[in-house]
Amino acid sequence: MKHVFIAVGGSGTKVAEALVRLLAAGFPTRRDENGALTSAGDSLQIWRVDPDRSSGASEDLYQALQEYRKLQSCLSDNNETRTLAQSRWAMDIETTVRHLDPLDLPKEVDQDNVTKTLRGVLDSRHSRNGHGVASSVSLLAPFYESKDLNVQIDRGFYQKPFIGSAIMSIFAKSLDDDATPGGKAAGLTAFSNTPTNFFLCGSLHGGTGACGVPVMANFLKKRKDQNMGWGWRIGGCLLAPYVTPPNPPFSALAEGSEFNESDVGQYVERYGNEPAFDGMTHEEKQELVKQILQGFYADPEDMEARAKQGLSYYRDHSGDSFDELYLVGKPNPNKLKVWSNGGKTQRNPLNSAEVVAATAALNFFSQANTGNQKSYVIGSSVADVPAENMRLFHMPSYNIGDTEIDAEKVFLSTALLRHLVIHQLPWDNMRASIKDFELARFYDDKEARVDTDRSSKHTALDYISNSVQSLIRENHEHFPTGWDSRDMQEIAKYLSSDAVSIKDIENKMAKKMFGNEAKGEVALGTSEVKFTTQDFGKWCPAGDQFTRGDYFRHVWMSIYQLSKTQFGS
């Protein structure tokens, strides 16, 4: 099945990163021909709709995709040059993000859309269907203030969806034509007659996400309705406030107050060395000062009201565009300590809300429905999910067929997969292990491959560990992630190579002296699994044509099937 994740704005991009990490960590979306839970066999493209091309979030996503590419290469044929990261461990992902820049609009003349402001775009000849008009100011005056029209929007729409929606509408229309920059990047023609899951994700209260998600959804819905036989599905996840930024280094000026270049210079001199200005040129600092003075930044006190407005809009105008729509947020958002107005300086670790939103995408990709076409379901997490100290057992589960996919069990299985492959396989003596390890039979006539496979598998497991740790990083003083530290501490033991941790796990997986039962259970939160290393020795895909990815998936599946939560299997 083909999936397209459309990340709108910075929050959507962080969710895309979380999705890539979840897939790397082994989260499944389907059952393969042997009945194994996997995501391999599906394919994913990531589109990123954001005027902020060089944001920290996009760099984090790029990093996650590069690691995913290397992981997949290690688990297939070690070819790192492919842009499509593929193996039998996890879903194929196109590692080049299709950047759909809403400011990269078609041009009638060279001067079109050069100035990256709302006025610059709306004054362009293309936006007026080729008609040359001196200025749009008179027409726009009733709707926009001058500062709204003139603010630089190449780093986002600064929590002002009313600025972004006009741009997004022009941009979405341009996607119909494969010759336009946006149309070329999206390449929608390739999806004609191809069943595809489109999943849009962005913030409900921000600028880019709030205006981009409904506009893009409406655009896709129209095309879907015109071609009902194509088998398109449209899902979405809206992120209500889950983090609140601190106040900027200085306050905005009162409504109607004016400032000049000299004032701006003074602000730059006084505040230019604050962390919010890190890595900026003098001109960029001046621009940021102007934005703050004019109030173009995320005001934490407005967020909730904006989210409410956004929800009303979806209720009245846009909810019907989606086959499935999810809402993720925190009643008490985590408080960020470092202020940023976008760009490269805005780099935060993954928040638990972003990971939950990525799980919503997995739920959608796995064809699970939360309701039928004629009704809707308001699902809700239990009331006691702590916003600041979430545990893995609080994560929503999703279904593949009749099997419930429990996040805690997935993490436990993946962590143990690493321990088993690295520490319990007799890599140094594979040829003598045929009797006790099925994998050794595979290497019996391929002895030359042992060292290559060992190295590739170890490297792949390092990337998988990295993804696991990125997903549930514990709270940091400056960057709240919303995760309780206990899960990370428990998992760290299973991912560790120190002798004490290895011994501890071995003691639990050791066979009792009489009988074949393990001495103890290996646990993570409320999940646990009990098996011996002798059992592990028997786990191996059938035949002698399987790949490293097949082997990982087979072992992972064997652990997952045996694992149980205190709520049942």
Binding site: A432, K435, D436, E506, T533
Partner: protein, 132 residues
Amino acid sequence: MTTFGFLFQYEFLETLFSATQENPGTAKDWAICAVVTAVLAAGLIFAVKGLRKYLADIAKRKIWTRRQTWLTIFMGLFPIFLFLFLIRWLYGDFWDYINVPDLFKGVFYAWVIYLVLMVVGHLVSPWRRELI
């Protein structure tokens, strides 16, 4: 038995033990004693190895490296020497007729048989890859 009967033939023993000419019966008993000791030692070492493998709580501990296997085989040489030394000391006929050079020749004789048994035993068992 016919195949290995030469081990106890007079002509063969004569070349091995000086006691053969003086007391061929005792020399033959000494040879039998050495062979039985070698067989018992081989059986014992195989049993120890099998038991340790059976009792291994972690699967990878069931797998023996080549070094570990040879080391265990060589460890079996010491009890052979000790046992034959004690037998010679405790049993009057051996003490009277088997001199020190014959003692060491008997030990060497047992060692060779033991090593052959251990190597062949590994080669015909599922453990052959732990040896070669």
